[in-house]
Symmetry: C2
Subunit: 294 residues, 2 copies
Protein backbone atom coordinates (compact mmCIF):
# COMPACT_ATOMS: atom_id res chain seq x y z
CA UNK A 1 0.00 0.00 0.00
CA UNK A 2 1.28 3.44 -0.93
CA UNK A 3 1.19 6.02 1.85
CA UNK A 4 -0.49 9.19 0.53
CA UNK A 5 1.34 12.52 0.81
CA UNK A 6 0.42 14.45 3.96
CA UNK A 7 -1.25 17.71 2.89
CA UNK A 8 -1.71 20.90 4.86
CA UNK A 9 -4.60 23.29 4.29
CA UNK A 10 -4.87 26.81 5.68
CA UNK A 11 -8.00 28.90 5.11
CA UNK A 12 -11.23 26.96 5.48
CA UNK A 13 -13.74 29.52 4.22
CA UNK A 14 -16.40 28.77 1.61
CA UNK A 15 -13.85 27.88 -1.06
CA UNK A 16 -11.17 26.34 1.15
CA UNK A 17 -13.64 24.20 3.09
CA UNK A 18 -14.79 22.41 -0.06
CA UNK A 19 -11.28 22.14 -1.48
CA UNK A 20 -9.80 20.65 1.70
CA UNK A 21 -12.70 18.21 1.88
CA UNK A 22 -11.82 16.75 -1.51
CA UNK A 23 -8.23 16.15 -0.41
CA UNK A 24 -9.37 14.39 2.75
CA UNK A 25 -11.86 12.31 0.75
CA UNK A 26 -9.03 11.15 -1.51
CA UNK A 27 -7.29 9.63 1.51
CA UNK A 28 -4.51 12.14 2.16
CA UNK A 29 -3.55 12.74 5.80
CA UNK A 30 -4.78 16.34 6.24
CA UNK A 31 -3.37 19.03 8.56
CA UNK A 32 -5.47 22.16 8.95
CA UNK A 33 -5.50 25.65 10.40
CA UNK A 34 -7.98 28.50 10.14
CA UNK A 35 -8.31 31.91 11.82
CA UNK A 36 -11.71 30.84 13.19
CA UNK A 37 -11.32 27.33 14.58
CA UNK A 38 -15.01 26.40 14.32
CA UNK A 39 -14.76 26.27 10.55
CA UNK A 40 -12.36 23.33 10.88
CA UNK A 41 -14.74 21.27 13.04
CA UNK A 42 -16.34 19.17 10.30
CA UNK A 43 -12.96 18.34 8.74
CA UNK A 44 -11.48 17.44 12.15
CA UNK A 45 -14.50 15.21 12.78
CA UNK A 46 -13.60 13.43 9.54
CA UNK A 47 -10.00 12.89 10.65
CA UNK A 48 -8.11 16.08 9.84
CA UNK A 49 -5.49 17.19 12.38
CA UNK A 50 -5.90 20.68 13.83
CA UNK A 51 -2.85 22.90 14.36
CA UNK A 52 -2.81 26.14 16.34
CA UNK A 53 -0.47 27.99 14.00
CA UNK A 54 0.14 28.05 10.22
CA UNK A 55 3.80 27.21 10.81
CA UNK A 56 2.81 24.02 12.61
CA UNK A 57 0.85 22.89 9.54
CA UNK A 58 3.94 23.44 7.40
CA UNK A 59 5.99 21.38 9.84
CA UNK A 60 3.62 18.42 9.42
CA UNK A 61 2.98 18.31 5.65
CA UNK A 62 4.74 17.75 2.32
CA UNK A 63 2.31 19.92 0.37
CA UNK A 64 0.65 22.97 1.96
CA UNK A 65 -2.25 24.81 0.32
CA UNK A 66 -3.45 28.25 1.46
CA UNK A 67 -6.51 30.24 0.48
CA UNK A 68 -6.80 33.25 2.76
CA UNK A 69 -8.00 36.87 2.71
CA UNK A 70 -5.71 39.53 1.37
CA UNK A 71 -2.11 39.93 0.17
CA UNK A 72 -1.28 41.30 3.65
CA UNK A 73 -2.55 38.03 5.18
CA UNK A 74 -0.59 36.03 2.61
CA UNK A 75 2.59 37.96 3.39
CA UNK A 76 2.23 37.40 7.14
CA UNK A 77 1.37 33.70 6.87
CA UNK A 78 4.22 32.96 4.41
CA UNK A 79 6.98 35.36 5.35
CA UNK A 80 6.34 35.99 9.07
CA UNK A 81 8.94 34.86 11.63
CA UNK A 82 7.00 31.70 12.44
CA UNK A 83 5.45 31.48 8.97
CA UNK A 84 5.24 28.82 6.31
CA UNK A 85 8.54 29.53 4.61
CA UNK A 86 10.41 29.53 7.94
CA UNK A 87 8.80 26.28 9.08
CA UNK A 88 8.39 24.32 5.83
CA UNK A 89 10.08 20.94 5.50
CA UNK A 90 12.97 20.90 3.02
CA UNK A 91 11.70 19.72 -0.37
CA UNK A 92 8.09 20.50 0.41
CA UNK A 93 5.78 22.53 -1.84
CA UNK A 94 3.73 25.53 -0.67
CA UNK A 95 0.76 26.49 -2.88
CA UNK A 96 -1.08 29.77 -2.47
CA UNK A 97 -4.57 29.66 -4.00
CA UNK A 98 -5.49 33.11 -2.68
CA UNK A 99 -6.09 35.73 -5.38
CA UNK A 100 -3.13 37.88 -4.46
CA UNK A 101 -0.38 40.04 -5.85
CA UNK A 102 1.87 38.59 -8.57
CA UNK A 103 4.80 40.57 -7.16
CA UNK A 104 4.26 39.08 -3.72
CA UNK A 105 4.09 35.60 -5.28
CA UNK A 106 7.50 36.24 -6.83
CA UNK A 107 8.95 37.36 -3.48
CA UNK A 108 7.54 34.32 -1.69
CA UNK A 109 8.90 31.96 -4.37
CA UNK A 110 12.36 33.51 -4.00
CA UNK A 111 12.30 33.33 -0.20
CA UNK A 112 11.14 29.71 -0.30
CA UNK A 113 13.73 28.77 -2.87
CA UNK A 114 16.48 30.14 -0.59
CA UNK A 115 15.30 27.60 2.03
CA UNK A 116 15.15 24.63 -0.36
CA UNK A 117 11.35 24.83 -0.54
CA UNK A 118 9.17 25.47 -3.61
CA UNK A 119 6.35 28.00 -3.50
CA UNK A 120 3.71 28.09 -6.24
CA UNK A 121 0.90 30.55 -6.86
CA UNK A 122 -2.32 28.84 -7.93
CA UNK A 123 -5.38 31.09 -7.77
CA UNK A 124 -8.67 29.50 -8.75
CA UNK A 125 -11.78 30.44 -10.66
CA UNK A 126 -15.21 28.89 -10.59
CA UNK A 127 -16.79 30.08 -7.36
CA UNK A 128 -18.39 27.98 -4.64
CA UNK A 129 -20.04 25.65 -7.15
CA UNK A 130 -16.70 24.98 -8.82
CA UNK A 131 -15.08 24.35 -5.43
CA UNK A 132 -17.90 22.05 -4.29
CA UNK A 133 -17.90 20.02 -7.50
CA UNK A 134 -14.08 19.93 -7.80
CA UNK A 135 -14.35 21.75 -11.13
CA UNK A 136 -12.20 24.79 -10.45
CA UNK A 137 -9.97 26.31 -13.10
CA UNK A 138 -6.53 26.51 -11.43
CA UNK A 139 -3.94 28.91 -12.85
CA UNK A 140 -0.50 27.91 -11.67
CA UNK A 141 2.73 29.87 -11.60
CA UNK A 142 6.11 28.50 -10.54
CA UNK A 143 8.66 25.77 -11.03
CA UNK A 144 7.50 23.36 -13.76
CA UNK A 145 8.79 20.21 -12.06
CA UNK A 146 7.07 21.08 -8.78
CA UNK A 147 3.83 21.76 -10.66
CA UNK A 148 3.94 18.24 -12.11
CA UNK A 149 4.73 16.80 -8.68
CA UNK A 150 1.65 18.40 -7.06
CA UNK A 151 -0.65 18.12 -10.10
CA UNK A 152 -2.40 15.00 -8.70
CA UNK A 153 -3.30 16.98 -5.56
CA UNK A 154 -4.47 20.03 -7.55
CA UNK A 155 -6.51 17.74 -9.80
CA UNK A 156 -8.54 16.70 -6.75
CA UNK A 157 -9.94 20.25 -6.69
CA UNK A 158 -10.16 21.24 -10.34
CA UNK A 159 -10.49 19.78 -13.80
CA UNK A 160 -8.61 22.56 -15.57
CA UNK A 161 -5.12 22.89 -14.06
CA UNK A 162 -2.93 25.01 -16.33
CA UNK A 163 0.65 26.12 -15.67
CA UNK A 164 0.88 29.71 -16.89
CA UNK A 165 4.61 30.26 -16.35
CA UNK A 166 7.06 31.00 -13.56
CA UNK A 167 6.35 32.47 -10.10
CA UNK A 168 3.52 35.04 -10.24
CA UNK A 169 2.20 33.85 -13.62
CA UNK A 170 -0.81 32.18 -12.01
CA UNK A 171 -1.71 35.43 -10.27
CA UNK A 172 -1.22 37.35 -13.50
CA UNK A 173 -3.67 35.01 -15.29
CA UNK A 174 -6.18 35.54 -12.48
CA UNK A 175 -5.74 39.30 -12.83
CA UNK A 176 -6.40 39.00 -16.59
CA UNK A 177 -9.59 37.15 -15.62
CA UNK A 178 -10.70 39.87 -13.18
CA UNK A 179 -9.87 42.64 -15.68
CA UNK A 180 -12.15 41.05 -18.31
CA UNK A 181 -14.88 40.70 -15.68
CA UNK A 182 -14.58 44.33 -14.55
CA UNK A 183 -15.52 46.00 -17.83
CA UNK A 184 -17.90 43.24 -18.88
CA UNK A 185 -19.85 43.90 -15.69
CA UNK A 186 -19.94 47.62 -16.50
CA UNK A 187 -21.29 46.75 -19.97
CA UNK A 188 -23.99 44.45 -18.58
CA UNK A 189 -25.12 47.06 -16.03
CA UNK A 190 -25.20 49.87 -18.59
CA UNK A 191 -27.04 47.72 -21.14
CA UNK A 192 -29.77 46.87 -18.65
CA UNK A 193 -29.90 50.42 -17.26
CA UNK A 194 -30.43 51.71 -20.78
CA UNK A 195 -33.07 49.08 -21.53
CA UNK A 196 -34.88 49.94 -18.29
CA UNK A 197 -34.70 53.65 -19.11
CA UNK A 198 -36.17 52.90 -22.54
CA UNK A 199 -39.07 51.08 -20.89
CA UNK A 200 -38.19 47.64 -22.25
CA UNK A 201 -39.01 44.41 -20.42
CA UNK A 202 -35.64 43.25 -19.13
CA UNK A 203 -36.46 39.55 -19.48
CA UNK A 204 -37.19 40.04 -23.21
CA UNK A 205 -33.97 42.02 -23.61
CA UNK A 206 -31.93 39.32 -21.87
CA UNK A 207 -33.56 36.66 -24.04
CA UNK A 208 -32.71 38.49 -27.27
CA UNK A 209 -29.24 39.85 -26.56
CA UNK A 210 -28.10 36.91 -24.41
CA UNK A 211 -27.64 34.64 -27.41
CA UNK A 212 -25.68 36.93 -29.75
CA UNK A 213 -22.48 38.94 -29.74
CA UNK A 214 -23.36 40.58 -26.39
CA UNK A 215 -23.54 37.17 -24.69
CA UNK A 216 -21.42 36.67 -21.62
CA UNK A 217 -21.42 34.52 -18.49
CA UNK A 218 -22.14 37.68 -16.50
CA UNK A 219 -25.02 38.83 -18.73
CA UNK A 220 -26.62 35.39 -18.70
CA UNK A 221 -26.06 34.62 -15.02
CA UNK A 222 -26.06 37.97 -13.22
CA UNK A 223 -28.27 39.93 -15.67
CA UNK A 224 -31.42 38.14 -14.46
CA UNK A 225 -30.45 38.91 -10.83
CA UNK A 226 -29.94 42.59 -11.64
CA UNK A 227 -33.35 42.62 -13.32
CA UNK A 228 -34.86 41.43 -10.03
CA UNK A 229 -32.73 43.72 -7.82
CA UNK A 230 -31.24 40.59 -6.26
CA UNK A 231 -27.82 41.58 -4.93
CA UNK A 232 -27.07 38.54 -2.77
CA UNK A 233 -23.37 37.80 -2.82
CA UNK A 234 -21.84 35.07 -4.94
CA UNK A 235 -18.60 37.05 -4.98
CA UNK A 236 -18.31 39.99 -2.55
CA UNK A 237 -17.88 43.59 -3.70
CA UNK A 238 -15.07 44.13 -1.17
CA UNK A 239 -13.11 41.13 -2.48
CA UNK A 240 -13.50 42.36 -6.04
CA UNK A 241 -12.28 45.84 -5.09
CA UNK A 242 -9.19 44.20 -3.58
CA UNK A 243 -8.56 42.33 -6.85
CA UNK A 244 -9.05 45.43 -9.00
CA UNK A 245 -6.57 47.31 -6.84
CA UNK A 246 -3.94 44.58 -7.31
CA UNK A 247 -4.55 44.54 -11.07
CA UNK A 248 -4.23 48.31 -11.38
CA UNK A 249 -1.04 48.37 -9.33
CA UNK A 250 0.48 45.63 -11.48
CA UNK A 251 -0.61 47.38 -14.70
CA UNK A 252 1.04 50.55 -13.42
CA UNK A 253 4.26 48.64 -12.88
CA UNK A 254 4.03 47.55 -16.54
CA UNK A 255 3.28 51.18 -17.55
CA UNK A 256 0.07 49.89 -19.09
CA UNK A 257 -2.88 52.28 -19.08
CA UNK A 258 -6.17 50.39 -18.58
CA UNK A 259 -8.89 53.05 -18.55
CA UNK A 260 -11.77 50.54 -18.45
CA UNK A 261 -10.31 48.88 -15.37
CA UNK A 262 -9.71 52.25 -13.71
CA UNK A 263 -13.32 53.24 -14.41
CA UNK A 264 -14.64 49.95 -13.00
CA UNK A 265 -12.65 50.49 -9.81
CA UNK A 266 -13.99 54.05 -9.41
CA UNK A 267 -17.53 52.73 -9.81
CA UNK A 268 -17.05 49.87 -7.34
CA UNK A 269 -15.48 52.25 -4.82
CA UNK A 270 -18.50 54.51 -5.15
CA UNK A 271 -20.67 51.46 -4.51
CA UNK A 272 -18.61 50.67 -1.41
CA UNK A 273 -18.93 54.28 -0.19
CA UNK A 274 -22.69 53.79 -0.40
CA UNK A 275 -22.32 50.87 2.01
CA UNK A 276 -22.68 47.87 -0.30
CA UNK A 277 -19.40 46.04 0.34
CA UNK A 278 -21.19 42.84 1.42
CA UNK A 279 -23.30 42.65 -1.74
CA UNK A 280 -22.40 40.50 -4.73
CA UNK A 281 -20.55 42.11 -7.63
CA UNK A 282 -23.80 42.41 -9.64
CA UNK A 283 -24.79 45.17 -7.19
CA UNK A 284 -22.89 47.56 -9.45
CA UNK A 285 -26.30 47.86 -11.11
CA UNK A 286 -27.46 49.84 -8.02
CA UNK A 287 -25.39 52.80 -9.22
CA UNK A 288 -27.43 53.05 -12.40
CA UNK A 289 -30.73 53.36 -10.56
CA UNK A 290 -31.12 56.98 -11.56
CA UNK A 291 -27.82 58.35 -12.71
CA UNK A 292 -24.18 57.53 -12.12
CA UNK A 293 -21.98 59.96 -10.29
CA UNK A 294 -18.48 58.76 -11.05
CA UNK B 1 -52.87 28.16 -54.76
CA UNK B 2 -52.27 31.11 -52.48
CA UNK B 3 -50.49 34.08 -54.06
CA UNK B 4 -47.58 35.10 -51.80
CA UNK B 5 -47.35 38.67 -50.53
CA UNK B 6 -45.16 40.87 -52.76
CA UNK B 7 -42.16 42.02 -50.71
CA UNK B 8 -39.86 44.97 -51.34
CA UNK B 9 -36.22 45.00 -50.24
CA UNK B 10 -33.97 48.05 -50.18
CA UNK B 11 -30.32 47.73 -49.22
CA UNK B 12 -28.57 44.70 -50.69
CA UNK B 13 -25.27 44.81 -48.86
CA UNK B 14 -23.72 41.81 -47.11
CA UNK B 15 -26.65 41.45 -44.69
CA UNK B 16 -29.46 42.57 -46.99
CA UNK B 17 -28.31 40.41 -49.88
CA UNK B 18 -28.64 37.23 -47.82
CA UNK B 19 -31.90 38.32 -46.20
CA UNK B 20 -33.57 39.23 -49.52
CA UNK B 21 -32.41 35.94 -50.99
CA UNK B 22 -34.31 33.96 -48.34
CA UNK B 23 -37.52 35.86 -49.15
CA UNK B 24 -37.13 35.16 -52.83
CA UNK B 25 -36.37 31.48 -52.13
CA UNK B 26 -39.63 31.23 -50.17
CA UNK B 27 -41.55 32.19 -53.31
CA UNK B 28 -42.47 35.80 -52.60
CA UNK B 29 -42.52 38.20 -55.58
CA UNK B 30 -39.53 40.43 -54.73
CA UNK B 31 -39.02 44.09 -55.64
CA UNK B 32 -35.56 45.50 -55.03
CA UNK B 33 -33.52 48.66 -55.02
CA UNK B 34 -29.96 49.40 -53.97
CA UNK B 35 -27.68 52.42 -54.21
CA UNK B 36 -25.23 50.38 -56.29
CA UNK B 37 -27.26 48.49 -58.89
CA UNK B 38 -24.69 45.74 -59.48
CA UNK B 39 -25.42 44.29 -56.02
CA UNK B 40 -28.95 43.48 -57.19
CA UNK B 41 -27.79 41.50 -60.24
CA UNK B 42 -27.87 38.01 -58.76
CA UNK B 43 -31.33 38.55 -57.23
CA UNK B 44 -32.66 40.00 -60.50
CA UNK B 45 -31.24 36.97 -62.33
CA UNK B 46 -33.31 34.84 -59.94
CA UNK B 47 -36.50 36.77 -60.74
CA UNK B 48 -36.49 39.86 -58.53
CA UNK B 49 -37.79 43.08 -60.11
CA UNK B 50 -35.42 46.05 -60.15
CA UNK B 51 -36.73 49.56 -59.37
CA UNK B 52 -34.81 52.77 -59.95
CA UNK B 53 -36.06 54.50 -56.80
CA UNK B 54 -36.98 53.39 -53.24
CA UNK B 55 -40.43 54.95 -53.68
CA UNK B 56 -41.08 52.71 -56.67
CA UNK B 57 -40.40 49.63 -54.53
CA UNK B 58 -42.96 50.85 -51.99
CA UNK B 59 -45.51 51.34 -54.77
CA UNK B 60 -45.11 47.70 -55.82
CA UNK B 61 -45.08 45.79 -52.50
CA UNK B 62 -47.24 45.03 -49.45
CA UNK B 63 -44.26 44.60 -47.13
CA UNK B 64 -41.07 46.63 -47.60
CA UNK B 65 -37.85 45.83 -45.74
CA UNK B 66 -34.89 48.22 -45.59
CA UNK B 67 -31.36 47.71 -44.29
CA UNK B 68 -29.28 50.70 -45.26
CA UNK B 69 -26.37 52.78 -43.95
CA UNK B 70 -27.01 55.47 -41.40
CA UNK B 71 -29.95 57.23 -39.72
CA UNK B 72 -29.52 60.05 -42.28
CA UNK B 73 -30.02 57.50 -45.10
CA UNK B 74 -33.02 56.04 -43.30
CA UNK B 75 -34.57 59.49 -42.87
CA UNK B 76 -34.13 60.33 -46.56
CA UNK B 77 -35.42 56.98 -47.85
CA UNK B 78 -38.46 56.98 -45.53
CA UNK B 79 -39.40 60.63 -45.14
CA UNK B 80 -38.09 62.23 -48.38
CA UNK B 81 -40.59 63.75 -50.84
CA UNK B 82 -40.53 60.66 -53.04
CA UNK B 83 -39.75 58.32 -50.13
CA UNK B 84 -41.32 55.16 -48.76
CA UNK B 85 -43.91 56.79 -46.53
CA UNK B 86 -45.09 59.09 -49.35
CA UNK B 87 -45.33 56.22 -51.85
CA UNK B 88 -46.39 53.25 -49.68
CA UNK B 89 -49.65 51.48 -50.48
CA UNK B 90 -52.37 52.03 -47.89
CA UNK B 91 -52.34 49.15 -45.41
CA UNK B 92 -48.78 48.11 -46.25
CA UNK B 93 -46.03 47.54 -43.68
CA UNK B 94 -42.60 49.17 -43.82
CA UNK B 95 -39.86 47.45 -41.80
CA UNK B 96 -36.51 49.11 -41.12
CA UNK B 97 -33.82 46.56 -40.20
CA UNK B 98 -31.06 49.19 -40.16
CA UNK B 99 -29.49 49.78 -36.74
CA UNK B 100 -30.72 53.33 -36.41
CA UNK B 101 -32.05 55.89 -33.97
CA UNK B 102 -35.05 54.95 -31.77
CA UNK B 103 -36.27 58.54 -31.95
CA UNK B 104 -36.21 58.46 -35.75
CA UNK B 105 -38.08 55.14 -35.69
CA UNK B 106 -40.80 56.83 -33.61
CA UNK B 107 -41.01 59.74 -36.07
CA UNK B 108 -41.26 57.41 -39.05
CA UNK B 109 -43.96 55.31 -37.36
CA UNK B 110 -45.99 58.47 -36.68
CA UNK B 111 -45.59 59.79 -40.22
CA UNK B 112 -46.55 56.40 -41.66
CA UNK B 113 -49.55 56.08 -39.37
CA UNK B 114 -50.86 59.43 -40.59
CA UNK B 115 -50.88 57.92 -44.10
CA UNK B 116 -52.61 54.67 -43.11
CA UNK B 117 -49.34 52.74 -43.31
CA UNK B 118 -47.55 50.86 -40.52
CA UNK B 119 -43.80 51.32 -39.98
CA UNK B 120 -41.87 48.90 -37.76
CA UNK B 121 -38.27 49.03 -36.57
CA UNK B 122 -36.60 45.62 -36.63
CA UNK B 123 -32.82 45.74 -36.28
CA UNK B 124 -31.04 42.42 -36.40
CA UNK B 125 -28.14 40.71 -34.64
CA UNK B 126 -26.09 37.75 -35.75
CA UNK B 127 -23.76 39.09 -38.42
CA UNK B 128 -23.20 37.72 -41.90
CA UNK B 129 -23.35 34.11 -40.73
CA UNK B 130 -26.72 34.72 -39.07
CA UNK B 131 -28.02 36.44 -42.22
CA UNK B 132 -26.73 33.67 -44.48
CA UNK B 133 -28.18 30.87 -42.33
CA UNK B 134 -31.47 32.73 -41.64
CA UNK B 135 -30.66 32.65 -37.94
CA UNK B 136 -30.78 36.34 -37.09
CA UNK B 137 -32.16 37.63 -33.82
CA UNK B 138 -34.73 40.26 -34.86
CA UNK B 139 -35.80 42.89 -32.31
CA UNK B 140 -39.06 44.44 -33.37
CA UNK B 141 -40.73 47.66 -32.29
CA UNK B 142 -44.17 48.84 -33.38
CA UNK B 143 -47.83 47.93 -33.68
CA UNK B 144 -48.45 44.43 -32.27
CA UNK B 145 -51.00 43.40 -34.90
CA UNK B 146 -48.71 44.42 -37.76
CA UNK B 147 -45.85 42.48 -36.15
CA UNK B 148 -47.96 39.32 -36.17
CA UNK B 149 -48.97 39.99 -39.78
CA UNK B 150 -45.35 40.19 -41.00
CA UNK B 151 -43.94 37.59 -38.60
CA UNK B 152 -43.97 34.86 -41.30
CA UNK B 153 -41.80 37.08 -43.52
CA UNK B 154 -39.43 37.98 -40.66
CA UNK B 155 -39.22 34.29 -39.73
CA UNK B 156 -37.71 33.62 -43.17
CA UNK B 157 -34.64 35.59 -42.02
CA UNK B 158 -34.36 34.81 -38.31
CA UNK B 159 -35.26 32.17 -35.78
CA UNK B 160 -35.57 34.57 -32.85
CA UNK B 161 -38.15 37.27 -33.68
CA UNK B 162 -39.11 39.14 -30.50
CA UNK B 163 -41.45 42.13 -30.26
CA UNK B 164 -39.90 44.49 -27.73
CA UNK B 165 -42.68 47.09 -27.57
CA UNK B 166 -44.00 50.05 -29.54
CA UNK B 167 -42.21 52.11 -32.21
CA UNK B 168 -38.49 52.50 -31.42
CA UNK B 169 -38.41 49.58 -28.96
CA UNK B 170 -36.58 47.34 -31.42
CA UNK B 171 -33.90 50.00 -31.87
CA UNK B 172 -33.68 50.44 -28.10
CA UNK B 173 -33.07 46.70 -27.67
CA UNK B 174 -30.34 46.84 -30.32
CA UNK B 175 -28.76 49.77 -28.49
CA UNK B 176 -28.81 47.73 -25.25
CA UNK B 177 -27.00 45.01 -27.23
CA UNK B 178 -24.35 47.43 -28.54
CA UNK B 179 -23.86 48.97 -25.07
CA UNK B 180 -23.11 45.55 -23.56
CA UNK B 181 -20.71 44.84 -26.42
CA UNK B 182 -18.90 48.18 -26.02
CA UNK B 183 -17.60 47.66 -22.48
CA UNK B 184 -17.19 43.90 -22.86
CA UNK B 185 -14.83 44.60 -25.76
CA UNK B 186 -12.87 47.03 -23.58
CA UNK B 187 -12.62 44.32 -20.92
CA UNK B 188 -11.42 41.69 -23.39
CA UNK B 189 -8.77 44.05 -24.84
CA UNK B 190 -7.51 45.11 -21.43
CA UNK B 191 -7.42 41.53 -20.15
CA UNK B 192 -5.28 40.41 -23.08
CA UNK B 193 -3.14 43.55 -23.01
CA UNK B 194 -2.42 42.87 -19.33
CA UNK B 195 -1.69 39.19 -19.98
CA UNK B 196 0.65 40.12 -22.82
CA UNK B 197 2.38 42.70 -20.63
CA UNK B 198 2.84 40.03 -17.95
CA UNK B 199 4.49 37.75 -20.49
CA UNK B 200 1.77 35.09 -20.47
CA UNK B 201 0.95 32.94 -23.50
CA UNK B 202 -2.34 34.37 -24.72
CA UNK B 203 -3.66 31.01 -25.93
CA UNK B 204 -3.23 29.55 -22.44
CA UNK B 205 -4.92 32.59 -20.91
CA UNK B 206 -7.87 32.33 -23.30
CA UNK B 207 -8.15 28.63 -22.54
CA UNK B 208 -8.28 29.18 -18.79
CA UNK B 209 -10.39 32.33 -18.49
CA UNK B 210 -12.66 31.58 -21.46
CA UNK B 211 -14.62 28.96 -19.55
CA UNK B 212 -15.31 30.81 -16.30
CA UNK B 213 -16.93 34.03 -15.14
CA UNK B 214 -14.92 36.09 -17.67
CA UNK B 215 -16.37 34.06 -20.56
CA UNK B 216 -18.07 36.03 -23.32
CA UNK B 217 -18.84 35.62 -27.01
CA UNK B 218 -16.31 38.38 -27.69
CA UNK B 219 -13.56 36.84 -25.54
CA UNK B 220 -14.04 33.41 -27.09
CA UNK B 221 -14.49 34.57 -30.70
CA UNK B 222 -12.50 37.79 -31.05
CA UNK B 223 -9.89 37.13 -28.32
CA UNK B 224 -8.06 34.57 -30.49
CA UNK B 225 -8.04 37.08 -33.38
CA UNK B 226 -6.60 39.80 -31.17
CA UNK B 227 -3.92 37.36 -30.02
CA UNK B 228 -2.91 36.92 -33.68
CA UNK B 229 -3.21 40.64 -34.55
CA UNK B 230 -5.96 39.68 -37.01
CA UNK B 231 -8.14 42.76 -37.45
CA UNK B 232 -10.12 41.73 -40.52
CA UNK B 233 -13.62 43.11 -40.32
CA UNK B 234 -16.61 41.06 -39.25
CA UNK B 235 -18.28 44.26 -38.08
CA UNK B 236 -16.67 47.56 -39.10
CA UNK B 237 -15.25 50.06 -36.61
CA UNK B 238 -17.01 52.95 -38.38
CA UNK B 239 -20.41 51.23 -38.12
CA UNK B 240 -19.84 50.56 -34.43
CA UNK B 241 -18.91 54.20 -33.81
CA UNK B 242 -22.20 55.23 -35.47
CA UNK B 243 -24.11 52.88 -33.13
CA UNK B 244 -22.29 54.11 -30.02
CA UNK B 245 -23.12 57.69 -30.98
CA UNK B 246 -26.82 56.86 -31.29
CA UNK B 247 -26.79 55.03 -27.95
CA UNK B 248 -25.08 57.93 -26.17
CA UNK B 249 -27.48 60.48 -27.64
CA UNK B 250 -30.46 58.39 -26.54
CA UNK B 251 -29.00 57.88 -23.06
CA UNK B 252 -28.54 61.63 -22.82
CA UNK B 253 -32.21 62.13 -23.66
CA UNK B 254 -33.02 59.76 -20.77
CA UNK B 255 -30.58 61.71 -18.54
CA UNK B 256 -28.76 58.43 -17.99
CA UNK B 257 -25.01 58.65 -17.43
CA UNK B 258 -23.20 55.65 -19.00
CA UNK B 259 -19.49 56.22 -18.33
CA UNK B 260 -18.41 52.85 -19.72
CA UNK B 261 -20.14 53.55 -23.01
CA UNK B 262 -18.66 57.06 -23.14
CA UNK B 263 -15.19 55.60 -22.55
CA UNK B 264 -15.66 52.97 -25.27
CA UNK B 265 -16.67 55.67 -27.75
CA UNK B 266 -13.62 57.78 -26.89
CA UNK B 267 -11.39 54.75 -27.44
CA UNK B 268 -13.02 53.81 -30.77
CA UNK B 269 -12.79 57.42 -31.96
CA UNK B 270 -9.08 57.38 -31.13
CA UNK B 271 -8.80 54.17 -33.16
CA UNK B 272 -10.60 55.88 -36.07
CA UNK B 273 -8.26 58.89 -35.83
CA UNK B 274 -5.40 56.44 -36.25
CA UNK B 275 -6.98 55.37 -39.55
CA UNK B 276 -8.54 52.03 -38.62
CA UNK B 277 -12.20 52.64 -39.54
CA UNK B 278 -12.27 49.71 -41.98
CA UNK B 279 -10.97 47.22 -39.41
CA UNK B 280 -13.22 44.92 -37.40
CA UNK B 281 -14.26 46.00 -33.91
CA UNK B 282 -11.62 43.72 -32.35
CA UNK B 283 -9.03 46.22 -33.63
CA UNK B 284 -9.60 48.15 -30.39
CA UNK B 285 -6.77 45.92 -29.18
CA UNK B 286 -4.40 47.98 -31.37
CA UNK B 287 -4.70 50.85 -28.88
CA UNK B 288 -3.23 48.71 -26.13
CA UNK B 289 -0.09 47.88 -28.08
CA UNK B 290 2.08 49.98 -25.82
CA UNK B 291 -0.06 52.32 -23.82
CA UNK B 292 -3.49 53.88 -24.25
CA UNK B 293 -3.83 57.61 -24.67
CA UNK B 294 -7.51 58.21 -24.03
Amino acid sequence: MVEKTPVGFIGLGIMGGHMAGHILSAGHPLHVHNRTRAKADSLVARGAVWHERPGDVAGAAEVVITIIGTPADVERVYLGADGLVARARPGSVLIDATTSSPSLAERIAAAASAKGVTALDAPVSGGEVGARDAKLAIMVGGDAEAVERVRPVLALMGGNVVRMGGPGAGQHAKMANQIAIASTMVGVCESLAYAKGAGLALDSVLKVIGSGAAQSFLLNNLGPRMAKDDYKAGFYVHHFIKDLGIALAEAERMRLDLPGLALARRLYEELARQGHTQDGTQALFRLYGASVRA
